[in-house]
Symmetry: C2
Subunit: 415 residues, 2 copies
Amino acid sequence: MCLLQHTFLDANRNVMFAGDASDMKIESVDFYYLAIPEVLDIGDGSQDALLVRVRAGGYTGWGECEASPLVSIASWNCPMSHSACKPVSASVLGEQLDDIKDIGRINRKVRAASLDLLQADHTLSGIDIALWDLLGQAKGEPVYRLLGQSYAFPKIAYASQLFGDDPQSTLERARAVVRAGFRAAKFGWGPYGLSTAQADADQVRAAREGLGSEAVLLVDAGTVWHDDVEAARARLDVLQECRVGWLEEPFVSGALDAYRSLSRLSGSVPLAGGEGCHTGHQAIHMIDHAGVGYIQIDTGRIGGITTAREVALHAEARGVRYVNHTFTTHLALSASLQPYAGMESHDICEYPFAPSALGRDFTRMRLEPDATGCVRAPDAPGLGVQPDTTALKPYLQDVEIRVAGRTRFRSQPFD
Amino acid sequence: MCLLQHTFLDANRNVMFAGDASDMKIESVDFYYLAIPEVLDIGDGSQDALLVRVRAGGYTGWGECEASPLVSIASWNCPMSHSACKPVSASVLGEQLDDIKDIGRINRKVRAASLDLLQADHTLSGIDIALWDLLGQAKGEPVYRLLGQSYAFPKIAYASQLFGDDPQSTLERARAVVRAGFRAAKFGWGPYGLSTAQADADQVRAAREGLGSEAVLLVDAGTVWHDDVEAARARLDVLQECRVGWLEEPFVSGALDAYRSLSRLSGSVPLAGGEGCHTGHQAIHMIDHAGVGYIQIDTGRIGGITTAREVALHAEARGVRYVNHTFTTHLALSASLQPYAGMESHDICEYPFAPSALGRDFTRMRLEPDATGCVRAPDAPGLGVQPDTTALKPYLQDVEIRVAGRTRFRSQPFD
């Protein structure tokens, strides 16, 4: 718990709206596809990014979509297929944006008009985040306050990274985490789950050894067993022996029955999952029916901050702990903290420990852990973090999409 | 029941494989984006289509993806984001295709390697259908037999169309259905659910009047109430009065709790839903937890025939009736019939009654209802239906997608 570290806002202070933010309309939405020069076939999700910029009423908001930038761009401005399969743009451009109710209305409009466009939820996510950022700036308030939360409580940052290729490499990565001042770490993907239970045991023991006995150790199986409960069960003994704080994504997000079965066997090791959810309903089903102890939400996938907040409230009501999912940038990190910033007992957060050069260069301002290894949502209007568009220029990918002789999308430089 | 109409195959006949279909590899996968000149803002999903052609070992298979052709094309060949967010092509091209086990393996490979690419399930759907069609031709067997079903039982074709703009128009549409020899009809979308319960009552009564007292009447709410049980409840009396065979999609596919609540109130009117499911898990959750009487699967969305068959078997085991979802072409119709062709008591199927010109021109061969208003999966190798590439030429849309100076996709004419 990091209660001593954070600055309390004045609880009696009303939400004051700076400037005249009435009668704003969404004037433009721009997408920037960013990538490192050579994307490798590894689990590192920070190798590319889709940055979204929204402009309205003289304000600019930023957000990010996870994942596959090109496909999310295509769903922004594809031709209409029918009345329930429209491009996302049809429900966003020109919309009124004076109040948080407008963001809810835009969300509902996108979900209905793009019902049959599967990728639309990912595209909406970055737009929704940018809308919250913009409205926060227009009203001079951090997003978490617009969401009705008075304080941004500190969260124990867990350093999130991949397993090493071998136990020795994992041991060294764990030691580096401790040296950097983190009190918690997660290892995932890489070779974990791909060969024998013994090989996985060696990896988890190496991580525990490198972290020492005190730090929190989390393990991410990256859906490797799909819905095979027995395969996961064979790893439980060592996870318990190493006092692992959670086993994450033993299965795909939809495998509720497999999750529930494993949760009855996993003893001291709670299950975590949910990053693949792209609707609130899916996450709520995981909370209600999968036996998870932690629900992990990626604001860049589930539809943005709006839907993530609904899930956070449901998790709180059901006694399941909400935690962000983010492996990429500090813009995404701030967005992912907002929905549960004010939920004091939900006190852990994923923190990108070893992102790609793109992830590191993304923002000038970074949410650095404090002396106790905690971070919190910035006490600044909107998300409080802006992309560094100068540093990002080398990563910008030219994109052009043409259908039936008409340009549907052409990338623009930062202006 | 249409038991007298169909031709029984010889139950003792073994599945014989024509020709030498061993050592085939997937040589090419091509996508053809087709659309009518002016796509209207109405619920008619047959206004565009994404046709998929797979070639291997001298054979050609065809399939279709629903929906949003451009976005599904983008997910075929987008740049890789990371090891679990690869383009679908990475898991398909060059793969071995000798047996139905290979199709299962390719499915699992796509789902794992494109885990974070949301649209991938829709792209996979058309490919999977084409793989079954191709393998059926290589082995000289209808797809339903490759799936382990001896017979293709007739299904009562229900004429599927939109509600008219007003009750009089709906009445006339219902009369046209009866004149065309159908014994069942579904009306959906249009104005239904968008204004008052009284307006909806007028529509449903008009449909019943037009059909007469004998024909089966089905109603499709097109997810209009999202997850609002009370809004749906207000329509139940009239649905019961008009002896409606099912109420379809009162809510979005994920709203399991709302479905279950309504199912306890709906009395003689069973609920139907599931066309939005894009994984087997989602459909299985609807079967197990939503209280639906009918599970409606679109093979063009759920991942193709492979996943649809898994759902059909689960539905059969749980006493829920499986029914196809298709509103478009006769190629999609054949694909959608295969997974449950041999399930005798699951004896109704959706039949596109008033498709667009594109839907009508799509194939030369059509699955016409017989004298009793039934259709069945063709007794011919593969899907038994091929696209009419000559007739489709005028509908072909030029598509070009470029990223970072490289062409990721360029449409080709039919060859």
